[in-house]
């Protein structure tokens, strides 16, 4: 109406939209928990009050934190993540109750609930999320720590191999044990390595994009620029060979190739990366028995259904008995699948919430990844673009590898399902990743501060 056209339109902060979505997430999460309690116990469990208070408090704190420290951040990311986290807690609680019932019918002592630890980790995750938002006021500053990130990241990756503190759990050596605490350093390493890749590629992207030769219509990069790709490939193979972790290995290599493609805008890197991946896979298949077993079980799990194929076959049974609509929360047999709370939590969801529920969960991940990619595209500096895209790739690949693994689309690996699975290190790392994505989207949506051109000196108003 009478607003002068010359004034820039005020950018909406969308914080109220975020608050509204958080309320929706809370309602769904609390209703889910209440549903589990009513179906399995016939009444609300004492833990419901604690869960409800904690969930509401964490939502309020996280929202206020974003409102204060990242005013213009994307309004959908936090509620989507929060909902996933609540659903994960509810499923772990449901599995706790199932284990209680099993212990009662076997006449053994009831195990201590895992949901307590997971709730504590969630609180810690939200705290670190806020801390990240407060400390990293501008993501571009992270670029200064490119090589520090590389150093610490690699250190964390090889830490589980260190004698004394490293631990092998379920055949994979990716744990560090300090007294009662165990931690998966690879989870933090994935953030640090994303920062390193971004910082490195921002500087080197132009030289990496230079074309030397053309083979079969494919523009190949210069030979000496292949170095970093080969290093990433070797590190990934190292993780696979020494720590026996197929998932993490795949994740790092996919992340690096993806970011390389974005930075150099050359498809040839993807082709080269793909070739290296195929060579590495075949090499690993023939060189290492544990890889071979994984692949054989993947190809025909029912032939090994009482041995190595037990987990995946039980997972398929669970998913298929869930069908389109699922058995309903608390009415299936998700505990037939080993590691239902961690690696196979997706099977538990698939059984009790069915295809419909699982598709909804995958859509939540799709929303998070899309929002991350959107922050990447909107970001005005190449470093931020790369970090946001890298973090989104990490999340997306992780979901693909773990869901693909438990549904037998690809061979089974040992990654955790982001925000759902029981496990502290992954939860904390993922919350920090979301904080970084929010920070980047905040920076890109924030109205431009007045920029002073160095061409002209500022004249001051003087009171005389």
């Amino acid at each position: 109406m009478s607003v002068p056209a010359a004034l820039p339109a005020r950018q909406p902060t969308r914080r109220n939209a975020e608050a509204g979505l958080l309320v929706v997430a809370l309602i769904i999460g609390l209703a889910a928990w209440a549903n589990v309690d009513l179906v399995m116990l016939g009444e609300l469990s004492p833990a419901f009050t604690i869960f409800a208070i904690a969930a509401i408090a964490l939502a309020v704190v996280a929202h206020l934190g974003v409102r204060f420290a990242a005013t213009y951040a994307d309004p959908v990311l936090l509620p989507a993540v929060f909902l996933l986290n609540l659903l994960g807690l509810t499923m772990i609680h449901r599995l706790d109750l199932g284990e209680d019932a099993r212990a009662v019918s076997n006449g053994t002592a009831t195990p201590s609930p895992d949901v307590t630890a997971q709730l504590t980790w969630t609180a810690l995750g939200v705290a670190l999320f806020l801390l990240t938002l407060l400390v990293v006021r501008d993501h571009r500053r992270l670029q200064r720590y490119t090589y520090t990130a590389l150093f610490i990241g690699l250190l964390l990756l090889i830490l589980p191999l260190a004698p004394g503190i490293g631990a092998t759990i379920n055949g994979a050596t990716l744990w560090v044990r300090l007294g009662p605490l165990s931690f998966q350093p690879a989870e933090i390493a994935k953030i640090l390595l994303t920062i390193f890749f971004a910082g490195y590629l921002v500087v080197k992207k132009d030289s990496l994009a230079l074309v030397r030769t053309k083979v079969l219509g494919l523009e190949l990069p210069r030979g000496r620029d292949l170095g970093p790709l080969l290093v990433a490939w070797l590190v990934s193979l190292g993780v696979l060979v020494f720590e026996r972790d197929l998932g993490t290995s795949l994740l790092f290599f996919g992340l690096f190739v993806g970011m390389l493609y974005i930075a150099t805008q050359r498809f040839s890197w993807v082709v080269l990366g793909g070739l290296l991946f195929i060579v590495g896979s075949f090499g690993a298949y023939f060189a290492f028995n544990h890889v071979r077993v994984r692949v054989q079980v993947w190809l025909d799990p029912f032939a090994y259904q009482s041995e190595q194929g037990y987990q995946i076959v039980q997972s398929i049974f669970g998913l298929s008995s869930g069908g389109l609509l699922g058995s309903g929360w608390g009415q299936g047999f998700p505990l037939f699948v080993p590691y239902a709370k961690s690696d196979f939590i997706i099977s538990a969801f698939g059984e009790e919430l069915g295809y419909t529920g699982l598709a909804a969960i995958l859509m939540l991940y799709a929303i998070i990844v899309t929002r991350g990619m959107r922050a990447s595209v909107a970001c005005r500096d190449p470093f931020g673009t790369l970090v946001a895209a890298g973090l989104s790739i990490v999340l997306a690949l992780q979901v693909f590898v773990v869901v693909g693994g438990v549904t037998r689309l690809i061979p089974l690996t040992g990654l955790t399902t982001p925000f759902l699975a029981a496990g502290g290190s992954a939860l904390i790392a993922n919350w920090i990743m979301i904080a970084l994505l929010l920070r980047i989207s905040d920076t890109s949506r924030r109205p431009d501060a007045i920029v002073l051109s160095p061409d002209d000196a500022l004249t001051q108003v003087m009171r005389l």
Partner: protein, 482 residues
């Protein structure tokens, strides 16, 4: 760089699509196949975890689930048990399910697609899914009469409502107690099953549906129908009924049981031939009509067809290429003619239903978990076996059998009962089977019944009239009285 980010996002979208397609494959398209795989204990536990729906006869539950304290939550209970076992079957942890428990499993377990709306409601109410009910067509009084009539002797009884094809009685004797096979103790189930399996009387057999017997003289009903339908014969047509019938192209002679001619001078009307069950007259008639005409008529009554009631009944047979001698024997229900009790009841029912053979069925209604009626079986025509006039004429001939012929034991004061006796040789050295096929009341038939007592049930004197007709009479009385 943003173009590359978008492309990468598209690639990730493809990965998401792959995940969803794969899940569709496992959870929707091939879910049943995975669920049914061996090693999936879920299926059984899931079914036991749900309240399985009841199987009802009239308004009482002959099979129902009761809550238990053990991990399987529900126990299947059959009451009265053995009497209804041919209909209910059993529901066993070890041996799976049989009869209606098997064929109607999707309804009883609640997984039927017709319960979609109920399941959604149950999903939101957070309650455990419950199974639907199956109401049988059985008539408790008729079933009791047949069960008590056989009184443990080996044999089978089937009663049918002629106008609909609804099965009113389905009795197999001796039977078994399905509770023994449906409890929660696998070892007990195994030992009970093995004991039943090794019993020489084969109590696990579903005799009325699964066993085909030589129908003997009751098959003369089919031969008579073929004769009337040919247009060359009426009930009063005089046909030869000598003491012996020289089998064509054979040195053997087919004799009357009495050794005497059936009528004065070896001549007899068709009606009288049926009333006295004259073998030589029907053997002659068989060759007059020919095997093809007999087979065609038999097939219109249901021979050479497998019926799902919904359990699959054994196919009753009329031989494919009998020579003239074999045709003569086939016309009196011997040689390779074989029929289930169900089939012979269908013959009686079709004659009583103006010549129209109805498809037999055992399930009357499907009930939703809240016991409201979800679907009602509609009676359906199988084939027309005879013209209405010929059917009416043959029905009167059957009444004559009971009133003046071989089947007086089926007489009921005040009710015109039609029937046909049979005493069929078994071909081995065992005593013959006693048969009776009845239909009543002749004015407007409400029930057709077939009774077979295997090997005469150990009786020293064997005839359809003596052993089978009283059971048929009791069943008819039960249906008409209820």
């Amino acid at each position: 760089m943003s173009r590359q980010v978008r492309r990468l996002a598209a690639v990730l979208g493809v990965l998401l699509g792959a995940l969803l397609l794969n899940l569709t494959w496992i959870q929707v398209l091939h879910a049943d196949e995975y669920r049914a795989r061996s090693g999936n204990t879920r299926l059984i536990l899931e079914e036991y975890n749900r309240e399985r729906g009841p199987i009802l006869v009239n308004r009482s539950q002959v099979a129902r689930s009761v809550r238990t304290d053990d991990s399987l939550n529900f126990l299947r209970v059959y009451k009265p048990g053995a009497e209804y076992a041919p209909a209910t079957g059993f529901y066993s942890l070890v041996y799976g399910a049989t009869a209606l428990e098997r064929t109607e499993n999707s309804v009883l377990s609640g997984s039927d697609s017709r319960f979609f709306v109920d399941r959604i409601q149950q999903l939101f109410a957070g309650t455990k899914t419950k199974g639907g009910g199956v109401v049988t067509t059985l008539n408790a009084a008729a079933q009791d009469a047949a069960w008590q009539g056989l009184a443990g002797r080996k044999g089978a009884v089937v009663a049918i409502n002629p106008t609909t094809g609804a099965i009113l009685a389905l009795v197999s004797s001796p039977s078994f107690d399905p509770n023994l096979l449906s409890n929660h103790k696998p070892d007990e189930i195994r030992s009970s099953y093995q004991a039943l399996e090794s019993d020489p009387d084969k109590p696990l057999l579903n005799r009325p549906l699964a066993i085909t017997y030589p129908p003997g003289s009751t098959f003369k009903l089919v031969t008579t129908a073929a004769a009337l339908e040919s247009g060359r014969f009426t009930p009063t047509t005089i046909i030869p009924g000598p003491a012996e019938y020289q089998l064509p192209n054979s040195t053997k002679k087919l004799k009357n049981w009495s050794g005497q001619p059936c009528g004065p001078g070896g001549k007899i009307t068709l009606e009288e031939a049926l009333a006295v069950s004259c073998n030589t007259a029907f053997a002659w008639l068989g060759n007059e009509l020919g095997a093809d005409a007999l087979r065609a008529e038999a097939e219109k009554f249901g021979f050479n067809t497998s019926f799902q009631v919904p359990m699959t009944a054994a196919t009753s047979r009329f031989p494919a290429n009998p020579d003239a001698a074999q045709t003569a024997q086939s016309a009196i229900g011997q040689f390779d003619v074989r029929a289930t009790a169900l089939q012979m009841a269908m013959v009686g029912a079709a004659i009583g239903n103006g010549g129209v053979t109805m498809n037999p069925y055992l399930v009357d209604q499907i009930l939703a978990p809240d016991l409201s009626v979800l679907s009602q079986t509609q009676a359906s025509v199988f084939q027309t076996a005879m013209s209405q006039a010929n059917a009416a004429a043959e029905l009167i001939m059957m009444v004559n059998v009971v009133d003046h012929g071989t089947g007086p034991n089926a007489q009921i004061p005040g009710v015109r009962v039609g029937g046909k006796t049979g005493t069929a040789q078994t071909g081995n050295d065992l005593p013959p089977h006693a048969w009776f096929v009845g239909v009543a009341p002749a004015e407007a038939p409400q029930v057709a019944v077939a009774v077979v007592v295997e090997n005469g049930g150990g009786s020293p004197e064997i005839s359809g009239n003596k052993l089978a007709a009283p059971i048929a009479r009791a069943v008819i009385e039960a249906v008409l009285g209820s």
